[in-house]
């Protein structure tokens, strides 16, 4: 990181064009958030070292990074917002709720082990009322369902074989809440001659970063990077199936958190479908797929967009015979990770998701596919439809 040019001077290149204002999902639905141009390069001109933060609106940034994509001048708007939010929350002090939401990795194994009890409690109206009242976790939001055994436990009893080894960063949610996505990823990779292994890993830290806890996020990065480096140095590439974990490790570890070794990791880290697309381009993709006569709709998560790799899942899913798949024309589901769980943000989250819900209603699909667990939760919440990771459908098409 060049301290002379970052981040202060980068805001000088803002040409005030307001393209970012046009894509911001939050300022579109609420006047409480002044929008990226104002909260990023605009507010930066008013910030003075030593002044307390007065950025009361900064916590409304949903962290989608669409502003960065829209910026014609390369202003790191979402990073400026993250830095400002960290300062604001450091001074204001975070509620216990934010700690709980961002540290679920600490108790997720226990929650998974006692999953019948956890799930009973999480679904219980009384418990949700209490969580709403005491913790300000909105009672209208379904809490994640825990599964047992965990993905990692399942994998312990699984013998992966293949000609080439590949590392898999599965992420917390797959491990304890959507184990089948992990299984599907393993099966698809194996069907393509790859031997999957799981490097030791912790939460990527994105929930903490998104809640302005740089220290916590950095701690996670410092645990993950050495383990990922080891995998790379042994000659493997690394796959992720959660686009948010991927975005975090690939971009923020190096750029924002300056974690040593992150720069070396980034070029070896691939989105699962990006990797499959690479296989296809080199003629190595297993194309023996059976017919799946399903009407499905695909939604591209914001963090996939900010990876700048196109829509690889859609490219691959289109190879499945009989599958009728359409891209959903909508921006940002509105969940924003922990954002949509918070009582004071729930309404905003729902309002943002409105467009997406309407777009899905128009397509009337049997299933919705998307790469991000947050988007899956939100789309289930908005529509009640069956929502899958694209790899689950691809696995179903394997012969």
């Amino acid at each position: 990181m060049d301290e002379r040019t970052w981040p202060n001077n980068n805001t000088d290149v803002c040409i005030r064009c307001a393209a970012c204002m046009a894509v911001c999902p939050v300022s579109r639905v609420t006047p409480l958030f002044p929008g990226p141009k104002q909260t990023g390069p605009g507010a930066q001109r008013f910030r003075k070292p030593g002044d307390p933060s007065v950025d009361e609106w900064i916590d409304l940034c949903i962290g989608c990074r669409l502003c960065d994509l829209a910026c014609s001048s390369g202003v790191p708007i979402s990073e400026l917002n993250l830095i400002a939010r960290a300062k604001y929350l450091d001074e204001k002090k975070r509620p216990l709720r934010d700690w709980l939401l961002t540290h679920s990795y600490l108790f997720s194994r226990v929650a998974s082990f006692f999953s019948p009890i956890t799930n009973f409690l999480f679904k219980n109206r009384g418990v949700r009322w209490m969580a709403d009242l005491l913790l300000k976790i909105d009672r209208r939001r379904e809490l994640p369902v825990y599964e047992s055994p965990t993905f990692r436990q399942w994998f312990g009893g699984h013998r992966s074989t293949g000609e080439k080894k590949i590392a898999y960063f599965y992420g917390c949610y797959i491990n304890t809440n959507e184990v089948d996505v992990g299984k599907a990823a393993v099966q698809v990779l194996e069907a393509n001659g790859l031997e999957v292994f799981l490097p030791p890993q912790e939460c990527c830290g994105l929930p903490m970063l998104g809640n302005g806890d740089f220290e916590g996020a950095r701690k996670m990065g410092l645990k993950n990077v050495p383990s990922l480096l080891q995998a790379i140095r042994s000659g493997s590439e690394i796959i992720f199936s959660s686009t948010s974990c991927g975005e975090m490790i690939k971009h923020e570890y190096n750029r924002l958190l300056a974690i040593p070794g992150a720069e070396e990791v980034a070029p070896h880290l691939f989105d699962l479908f990006e990797y499959l697309r690479k296989l296809k381009e080199s003629g190595n993709l297993n194309l023996r797929l059976k017919e799946l006569p399903i009407r499905a709709a695909y939604f591209a998560p914001c963090h996939l967009r900010s990876l700048g790799i196109g829509l690889p899942a859609l490219d691959i899913l289109r190879l499945i015979p009989g599958l009728h798949i359409e891209n959903i024309d909508a921006d940002c589901c509105g969940l924003g990770g922990t954002f949509g769980f918070k009582k004071e943000k729930y309404e905003i989250s729902q309002e943002i998701g409105k467009d997406l819900k309407e777009a899905i209603d128009r397509l009337n699909p049997e299933a919705v596919l998307t790469d991000c667990e947050g988007c899956r939760m939100q789309i289930r919440h908005l529509t009640g439809l069956k929502v899958l990771h694209p790899v689950q459908l691809l696995r179903d098409a394997l012969t």
Partner: protein, 502 residues
């Protein structure tokens, strides 16, 4: 139209507005005539350096003493206009330490609090400084908003009975023996003519002092010295930065609101109306200022402007930098035999109050009355309120913002229109921070036009008004147009040409 007043003040800069307030607080009726808007001269065209006196302390200790005394007073009475940033006089390797030692001694003698800082201490306060610096001396410099200052003075004067005629130029003086009987003035926007009779006249026209006196057949020797300044997009330091060497070109950086102002040049002029900022001046300022703060080499500039220093020549030799920054008060009764005319000019923005007090004292003396000035203890109406970057940023998210860059709320502009005192819509630029930020008004003047229309107070062809704003904008941007600014300018040009069909 015939008007009558006790004291007629000519010039609506800091001095003129200060005199209007001083006199009206003493209960003396006065009328101020200004050919442009308030602050059209040097008062609105300086770097807003709130001098501690440090800059003049070695060469002109008397001016420095005036500065530090007024500095202390204004912190109390004009707190809303002053940001107490402190200032550093930094010594670079090429400056040597002789001057610094003389500087520290002179500060001591002039009672300017000065503290010698090591390289490390200076860099920890201002990390953007040239890391090669040898040492720094901290003094109570600051930054001052001349617009707020003058408008608060004028507002308070008005509340105590003073009246103003803006955009009105004095065209002739009618002499009657040893006194000025009346002046003829013309409203430059509406064409109306006034014949104003006054018992006493105060010439507070700054750099125009000699020009004005010529109307009475008098002459004083003035050196008109142009000083050009550049405005950065963001602050490059949060303290005033000075070179610790004899005052020279490009050795001041002043943090002012959201920006830093780099100054100045010093070029002798004959012409005072249309000031051009030349490419060599721009290069010189960047080259010199980036010796103090290296990031200036690559930073973005949003505007350049120039002002004329009203320097009074009392006969000494030497360059314009050596002419005293102290002010002069001329009683034309003693000098030229005109009983009811005085001139006050020279000085610094920071000594405006003292100049006003002394000029008003002389008026009182001529009137034979004994009303002491109270301006050194009576706070301006806005005192007590703090206006800082933080306070401004707080307004974001609270209501409609008119100027995105400087966070000027719609209500602020509406308030100015409601008062109904704007003769020229462009004058709103002197009354709010509107259009003083990154885009220099590109994205707010058309919003403003809508407001003007709704207010119904301003009549005229909207395209002409819009062009007026854009020309004012373009004048300041042109000298610093490169890099990112060019990209922005292309966008803005296409908006105004494409959408507004200008």
């Amino acid at each position: 139209m015939n008007l009558k007043t006790e004291v007629l003040i000519i010039g609506g800069g800091a001095t003129g507005a200060g005199i209007a307030r001083d006199l009206s607080l003493r209960g003396i009726p006065c009328l101020l005539v200004e050919k442009g808007d308030f602050l059209s001269g040097a008062s609105g065209r300086n770097h807003g350096l709130f001098h501690s006196g440090g800059r003049y302390v070695v060469a002109d200790p008397e001016a420095a003493r005036e500065c530090i005394a007024e500095n202390r007073i204004l912190r109390k009475i004009a707190s809303r206009c002053v940001e107490e940033t402190d200032g550093l006089f930094i010594s670079l390797p090429e400056d040597g330490l002789d001057f610094r030692d003389r500087f520290v001694r002179a500060c001591e003698e002039a009672a300017i609090p000065a503290r010698l800082l090591s390289q490390d201490e200076a860099l920890s306060l201002e990390p953007g400084l040239n890391p090669d610096l040898k040492s720094a001396v901290a003094v109570p410099d600051g930054s001052i908003d001349p617009f707020e200052l003058v408008l608060e003075n004028a507002g308070d004067a008005e509340a105590h009975g003073a009246t103003f005629l803006l955009h009105t130029e004095v065209t002739s003086l009618l002499l009657d023996g040893d006194r000025v009987k009346a002046v003829v003035a013309k409203d430059l926007l509406r064409g109306e003519e006034y014949r104003i009779e006054a018992s006493y006249l105060v010439n507070a026209t700054g750099a125009w002092a000699d020009r004005f006196l010529r109307l009475a057949g008098l002459h004083i020797a003035m050196a008109l010295s142009k000083g050009s300044m550049l405005v950065t997009n963001q602050r490059v330091s949060h303290r005033v930065i000075n070179r610790c060497r004899p005052p020279s070109d490009g050795d001041i950086i002043v943090p002012n609101h959201t920006v830093s102002i780099l100054g100045t040049t010093s070029i002798r002029l004959e012409e005072i109306e249309h000031l051009e900022i030349t490419p060599p001046e721009v290069s010189l300022l960047i080259r010199e200022a980036s010796r103090m703060v290296p990031a200036i080499e690559t930073t973005r500039f949003i505007r350049a402007y120039a002002g004329v220093r009203p320097l009074f020549l009392s006969g000494e030799e030497g360059g314009d930098r050596a002419i005293s920054r102290g002010f002069v008060l001329i009683d034309h009764e003693k000098r030229d035999g005109i009983r009811n005319l005085i001139t006050v000019t020279g000085g610094k923005l920071v000594t405006y109050r003292l100049m006003a007090e002394k000029a008003s004292d002389l008026v009182c003396q001529k009137m034979g009355i004994n009303h002491p000035s109270v301006t050194h203890t009576k706070p301006l109406p806005g005192a007590g309120q703090r206006a800082g970057l933080k306070e401004r940023l707080k307004t974001l998210g609270q209501g409609e913002i008119l100027c995105d860059c400087e966070l000027v709320r719609r209500e602020e502009a509406e308030e100015v229109f409601r008062e109904g005192k704007l003769k020229n819509p462009l004058d709103i630029l002197h009354r709010t921070r509107l259009a003083k930020g990154t885009c220099q008004g590109a994205f707010c003047v058309y919003r403003l036009l809508g407001l003007l229309n709704e207010s119904g107070k301003i009549r005229g062809d909207s395209n002409t008004i819009l062009k007026g704003f854009l020309e004012e904008r373009w004048k300041g941007i042109r000298p610093v147009l490169w890099g990112t600014s060019v990209r922005e300018e292309e966008l803005i040009e296409s908006i105004y040409k494409g959408i507004f069909n200008l």
